[in-house]
């Protein structure tokens, strides 16, 4: 199978779905770039190039550059979705949700319920998450806990190129509003990705690694850190099971609970902040529904309760590390032995 980066996988997913269904449109700031300039169109193709080339094939009517106007973008996408299009709107950085969240959480996500089941809102919002690029406090956050908490919204967080393509196609074909979180440091990550279109169902975790001693649940970039930690721990004889939920809403609770039922130990790794985060959510799930099996405190490895610092030296301390994950597993594994 051909190797592709996450960027290529996402681009391919968009192009294939746009070809398949004329109702699919892409809308956002500089999704092509160059509108109203003396230079060329497709000057950006998205700030990190994910939508590059689409305007060439599908034209400006389906690859729609906008002013800097996130509320109108999200609202337009919501209104378009409710009336017959299948928009893929871009919120360039997830950190910007604060200027436009009403249209996502009070409008798009609630239409169906408020309207008594009569609305269908097939909307995808692509957005970037993640620290690690010295982009500082307003361009490095991972607020997917907020997205996960919203009834009516689905939240997808891929960790590799194969999943990215299948989950994005699923998101586009899905009839509910979906927010799709892409980690800004992972676009160049490669994996085997089929050329043809395929979908990955929501709510089905990926068990990255089987193990019997400790369950690790990790999201996005943390999946890779956790895998590295698990590798190292395996050499010490600690056998970790690593679960990547892939979607936090819906969440594959069965896979997590079944795993903890076997291991009795849980570490959740999440690049987001700790309070009311996804790590807390998963910990609470397990403390409620797999209590009988639990043999050690549930450890969360998250960012601290601080904004994201700029200086690379501080940012490195901010992000969970392979070392801090391994340490948490050690603590958990050693507990009560």
């Amino acid at each position: 199978m051909p190797m592709k980066t996450i960027r290529q996988a996402l681009n391919e997913a968009l192009a294939q779905e746009m070809r398949r269904d004329p109702r699919v449109v892409v809308i956002g700031e500089d999704v092509a770039g160059g509108a109203g300039t003396p230079g060329q169109r497709d000057a950006y193709g998205g700030v990190l190039g994910v939508t590059k080339g689409l305007i060439g094939e599908f034209g400006p009517e389906r690859v729609i550059d906008t002013p800097i106007t996130e509320s109108a973008i999200m609202g337009a996408a919501a209104g378009a979705a409710a009336t017959g299009l299948r928009p893929v709107a871009e919120l360039m950085f997830s950190d910007f949700f604060g200027v436009c969240f009403d249209q996502i959480y009070n409008q798009a996500a609630k239409f169906r319920y408020m309207f008594g089941g009569k609305a269908t809102t097939p909307l995808v919002i692509r957005t970037m998450i993640g620290a690690g690029r010295s982009a500082a406090a307003q361009h490095s956050q991972s607020p997917y806990h907020v997205f996960t908490s919203v009834p009516g919204l689905k939240c997808v967080i891929p960790s590799n190129a194969y999943d990215a393509k299948g989950l994005l196609i699923q998101a586009i074909r899905d009839d509910d509003p979906v927010i799709f979180c892409e980690h800004k440091l992972m676009y160049d990550l490669r994996a085997e990705v089929p050329d043809e279109a395929y979908t990955i169902p929501f709510g089905e975790a990926n068990v990255v690694r089987d193990g019997e001693d400790v369950t690790i649940v990790a999201l996005a970039r943390m999946v890779h850190y956790a895998a590295e930690a698990a590798e190292a721990l395996a050499k010490e004889g600690i056998d970790c099971e690593l679960i990547d939920p892939r979607t936090t809403s819906p969440l594959d609770t069965d896979t997590i609970l079944d795993s903890v039922a076997r291991t009795g130990r849980l570490v959740v790794v999440d690049e987001g902040t700790p309070r009311c985060g996804v790590a807390a959510d998963i910990a609470a799930l397990v403390a409620e529904h797999a209590f009988a099996a639990l043999r050690a405190p549930i450890r969360r490895v998250t960012a601290p309760h601080t904004p994201v610092p700029f200086a690379p030296s501080l940012e490195k301390l901010y992000i969970p590390s392979v070392g801090s994950i391994a340490q948490a597993v050690h603590d958990t594994y050693g507990y009560g032995r």
């Binding site: 609202g75 919501a78 209104g79 169906r112 319920y113 408020m114 269908t120």
Partner: protein, 322 residues
């Protein structure tokens, strides 16, 4: 005026339906039969009907917290609406939405909205659908003087201009946003003028006068259908009741609502105009009034008789699939 007799009687009937609906909702709300909050549209009927009489089911509107009038004008079932307001099974939204979330996508009614400024961006989207799929339909945002100051509204104006979409923004200036005057809250004191600054045609129109609204709307909607891009209308109007049912209205002049009802009643104005022009006779209009009154009573009786929603409805329709 390109309205024939049928059009006229239809327009009157719709305005009268809104008026009667609101008056009876006010009664029922005061009696405690309707839960939550209701924001009554009485006094503004010429705006909803003047605009919506140009629209078909394929055209889309988005409304506000004060949405009953727009819903009725856009063709929502009055009984379904009343059941909804009462929170009953069979309501237009199954009792899950209530007054502030009346919607009917089949009628092109994209929802009342509890968020001031929530509708205009949605209308940009509906207009985008129309343009992208080549539908020749238009989308209309009804919004208020208060909402005209919300950032989302401004953004919607700009984006509609940039994309040259078939969107119409109707600013119903009833002089108040809750208890704050438009004269205070709109810095420019000129909603249409400010909209014009965004690069779209915008006119002010007398909301007492159905015919004036109808004509201004016709022009804007025809332009939009023909690919001429967005427009704005500022309809100068008035609300006969408080911000919501139960509002003490201390911000109003003494006697103001009495004076408005006497001098600025768009229904009276309509009757006078059609009678003076010899277009419709009083008995025809009275018959319409009587029909409408009976319709609303039936709706209320139905609402009173209907059971509450099935408890299972709490958990349904959050997602299509999950």
């Amino acid at each position: 005026m390109q309205l024939n007799r049928d059009d006229l009687i239809q327009a009157y009937r719709t305005m009268a339906t809104i008026r009667r609906f609101e008056e009876r909702v006010q009664d029922e709300f005061s009696k405690g039969a309707i839960p939550g909050f209701v924001h009554l549209y009485a006094g503004q009927e010429a705006s909803a009907v003047g605009v919506c009489s140009h629209l078909g089911d394929g055209d889309v509107i988005a409304s506000t917290h004060r949405g009953h009038g727009h819903s009725i004008a856009k063709g929502c079932d009055v009984t379904g609406m009343m059941l909804e307001l009462f929170g009953r099974q069979g309501g237009l939204c199954g009792g899950k939405g209530g007054s502030m979330h009346i919607a009917d996508l089949d009628r092109g009614m994209l929802g009342a909205n509890g968020i001031v400024g929530g509708g205009p961006p949605l209308v940009v989207g509906a207009a985008l659908t129309a343009k992208t799929l080549g539908r020749k339909t238009v989308a209309v945002a009804f919004t208020g003087d208060g909402a005209s100051n919300q950032g989302t509204t401004f953004e919607a104006l700009n984006l509609a201009v940039v994309l040259q979409l078939p969107a119409i923004f109707v600013f119903e200036n009833n002089q108040y946003g809750e208890g704050t005057g438009a004269a205070y809250a709109v810095g420019s004191r000129d909603i249409a003028g400010r909209a014009r600054g965004f690069g779209l045609p915008a006119v002010k129109v007398d909301g007492d006068d159905f015919f004036a609204v109808h004509e201004a709307a016709r022009e804007a909607i025809e332009r939009a259908r023909a690919g001429g891009g967005p427009s704005a209308l500022e309809v100068e109007t008035c609300r006969f009741y408080g911000h919501h049912s139960g509002d003490a209205q201390l911000y109003r002049a003494k006697d103001e609502t009495r004076r408005l009802r006497e001098e600025h009643d768009c229904l009276k104005h309509f009757r006078r105009r059609v009678q003076e022009a010899g277009l419709l006779d009083p008995p025809e209009l009275d018959t319409a009034d009587a029909d409408v009154a009976a319709l609303i009573e039936r709706a209320i009786a139905a609402a009173q008789a209907a059971p509450p929603p099935d408890p299972a409805a709490l958990m349904t329709d959050v997602y299509l699939s999950y």
